[in-house]
């Protein structure tokens, strides 16, 4: 379990499936014990954590996506449109639709951005998400413009979700989705594709000489990252009960990049834990210093860049491992 979270190693022998099942069970039960505000923040953190994981997967190949908000908003708006235009109420249907929308969008945008590296990749992804932001603002007859639209409480497997239990149920659904996503990512990291991404970061030209297709690897990872962010968007939409174009704005994508920087590039626990911690800190900081929050984030980023270039979590984990026998 520890190795799964820290290093993304999903081999059954090391992960211990019983332990994993117990962990998920405990996490599910927590939703009914914790206070409402805390499950809300944790759910929000986990939803964003899914998008962060996508950024992490891309950054392993040395690519920074400043535009994962595009898919986060894409997933959320897929839910909004399905509920508003088609009248779909089923949560599983929403999730499938949202992920499909994200994957489709990623498959289209990926054709263009997979050709580019470093600053070009970063700025093109940013540009695409700003295009969606512009569309969501301008097409107010369909999207509600800058006011966004409400997301009605969904049904779960055909059963209605009672309003007073909604927080815990959305939290449990999120835990389930995250567990599934972690499994998919762990398999991805253990696959040749996952290893190829690390090789691309080290030396792209050499990967090509060895017969690997760099563009295909980046394209597939990009689509996977899009799907993850879209799933996060769906869960975030359920949790908040309201969506607006800010989900596609650069601030949302910037948050994902920031949490990636805190967590570092190894494992799947760091992005999730980092995102939850970030949401917790933010919910307090917004109360006390609403106009200085971004500045705090920026300064924290500079500190990380100069002191812990591999991410705080990984640096601390390394230090602990080195000192303990």
């Amino acid at each position: 379990m520890i190795r799964l979270l820290v290093e993304g190693d999903a081999r059954p022998a090391t992960a211990g499936w019983a332990l994993v099942a117990a962990g998920i069970g405990a996490a599910l039960a927590l939703g009914w014990v914790l206070p409402r505000w805390l499950t809300f923040v944790v759910t929000q953190g986990l939803a964003k954590g899914l998008a962060v994981m996508g950024v992490v997967l891309l950054m392993r190949a040395g690519l920074v996506s400043f535009g994962q908000g595009l898919y986060y908003a894409g997933g959320a708006y897929a839910v909004g449109f399905a509920a508003r235009l088609v009248g779909l109420r089923e949560a599983t249907g929403h999730a499938a639709l949202g992920v499909a929308a994200g994957v489709l969008l990623g498959a289209l945008v990926g054709v263009v951005v997979a050709r580019y590296r470093s600053i070009f990749f970063a700025m093109l992804t940013l540009a695409f998400s700003m295009v969606l932001y512009g569309v969501l603002i301008k097409a107010y007859t369909v999207t509600g413009g800058s006011d966004g639209m409400p997301i009605p409480l969904p049904t779960l497997l055909g059963l209605p979700v009672p309003a007073d239990r909604a927080g815990a149920i959305v939290y449990d659904v999120t835990i389930g989705c995250v567990a599934l996503a972690v499994y998919v990512i762990a398999r991805y990291l253990a696959s040749p594709l996952g290893f190829l991404m690390r090789a691309i970061r080290d030396n792209e030209v050499r990967v090509q000489y060895l017969g690997g297709s760099v563009r295909r690897a980046i394209y597939r990872t990009y689509v996977l990252a899009a799907g993850l962010a879209a799933l996060g968007g769906v869960l975030g939409a359920f949790n908040v009960g309201h969506i607006d174009p800010d989900l596609a704005y650069w601030t949302t994508s910037g948050e994902f990049v920031f949490v990636t920087l805190i967590g570092g590039l190894e494992g799947v626990g760091a992005p999730l834990g980092g995102a939850v911690a970030y949401e917790l800190v933010k919910s307090y900081a917004f109360k006390y210093a609403p106009y200085a929050w971004e500045m705090v984030v920026g300064i924290a980023m500079l500190v990380i860049i100069f002191l812990f270039p591999e991410g705080v979590w990984v640096s601390l984990a390394r230090r602990r491992r080195r000192t303990s026998p």
Binding site: F128, G134, V205
Partner: protein, 298 residues
């Protein structure tokens, strides 16, 4: 007047604005090899400083047209304060490091500057529109244009020419060109590299602020105006080729004319024109129209 001429005039006016906001970005990238995400913040800083100076100027009941000369002062102010502070304090530690870390550094800087501006100028909008009406209106073939638009074209042309002369004709400009081609050999030949870097960055910052200062009378200045600018400026610069001054001019002209054509012929597409142009150019020439192929490391 035919639609074609209207498109042409509108296009040139918009291109002038695009050139002003993006030329500093390409200058900084060309010399420092850092894509400055905080460029938009420097633009916003210029807009706020310009607006503040304008409001102070009009409070004193001076000659109204003089207000137009106050705006370059705002650019100068931003250039000589923020420029050296950012380059010496932050960017100089990033030279030679991973491109992604450089990008993230300027992103962090951008976040910090956004809030600094909120703390200094607050969140309510600033209006400094008086200079906009000072130049009256110009009638061109039956269509009335604000005179300010043509001032913008003049400033952009002047800036472009001055910059070209600076880089190609002055002694310091030639040192800059030498540094662009090979920083290491330049140092061996006695070029003061840190000085070239700090002057270039400050000049780029001043250009961003100049764009912001002359935009100030045309818009309501609110937090967040810098974000769209960095995306648009990047698009313009990429079309022409990152790091090329002529490229920035060419990119601005192409994007400006295509956008004004879209405004008049296909208004629904207006929002996407910049990105469509960028995508189209990049598909044909992945590093822009006037940029050479990049050397890939093995």
């Amino acid at each position: 007047m035919s639609t074609l001429t209207i498109i042409g005039v509108d296009g040139v006016v918009f291109a002038a604005w695009l050139f002003l906001i993006s030329v500093g970005l390409t200058l900084i990238y060309g010399v420092l090899r850092i894509l400055n995400i905080a460029h938009g913040s420097l633009y916003a800083l210029g807009a706020y400083t310009g607006a503040t100076l304008l409001l102070a100027y009009f409070r004193h009941d001076l000659w109204p047209l003089g207000s137009l000369a106050v705006l370059p002062l705002a650019a100068l102010l931003v250039g000589v304060t923020a420029g050296p502070l950012i380059e010496r304090g932050l960017l100089q530690r990033m030279y030679g490091r991973d491109e992604i870390l450089q990008l993230l550094t300027t992103y962090a800087l951008f976040l910090i500057l956004e809030d600094v501006m909120k703390l200094v100028w607050g969140t309510s909008p600033y209006y400094a529109y008086r200079p906009y009406g000072l130049l009256g209106q110009v009638s061109l073939g039956g269509v009335v244009y604000p005179g300010y638009s043509f001032l913008l074209v003049g400033i952009a042309a002047l800036t472009g020419a001055a910059l070209w002369a600076f880089v190609n004709r002055s002694r310091f400009g030639r040192l800059v060109v030498a540094v662009i081609h090979d920083p290491e050999i330049s140092v061996a030949m006695g070029v003061n590299l840190p000085r070239v870097y700090v002057v270039t960055f400050s000049l780029g910052a001043a250009l961003a602020a100049l764009g912001g200062a002359y935009t100030a009378p045309m818009i309501a200045i609110v937090p967040g105006i810098g974000v769209e600018v960095i995306v648009v400026a990047f698009a313009v610069v990429v079309v022409g080729g990152l790091g090329s001054l002529e490229g920035a001019a060419l990119g601005a002209l192409i994007v400006g004319v295509v956008r004004s054509a879209a405004v008049h012929l296909l208004p629904t597409l207006e929002l996407f024109t910049i990105y469509l142009v960028m995508a189209g150019v990049l598909l044909l020439r992945p590093y822009g129209l006037l940029a050479g192929e990049r050397v890939r490391r093995l």
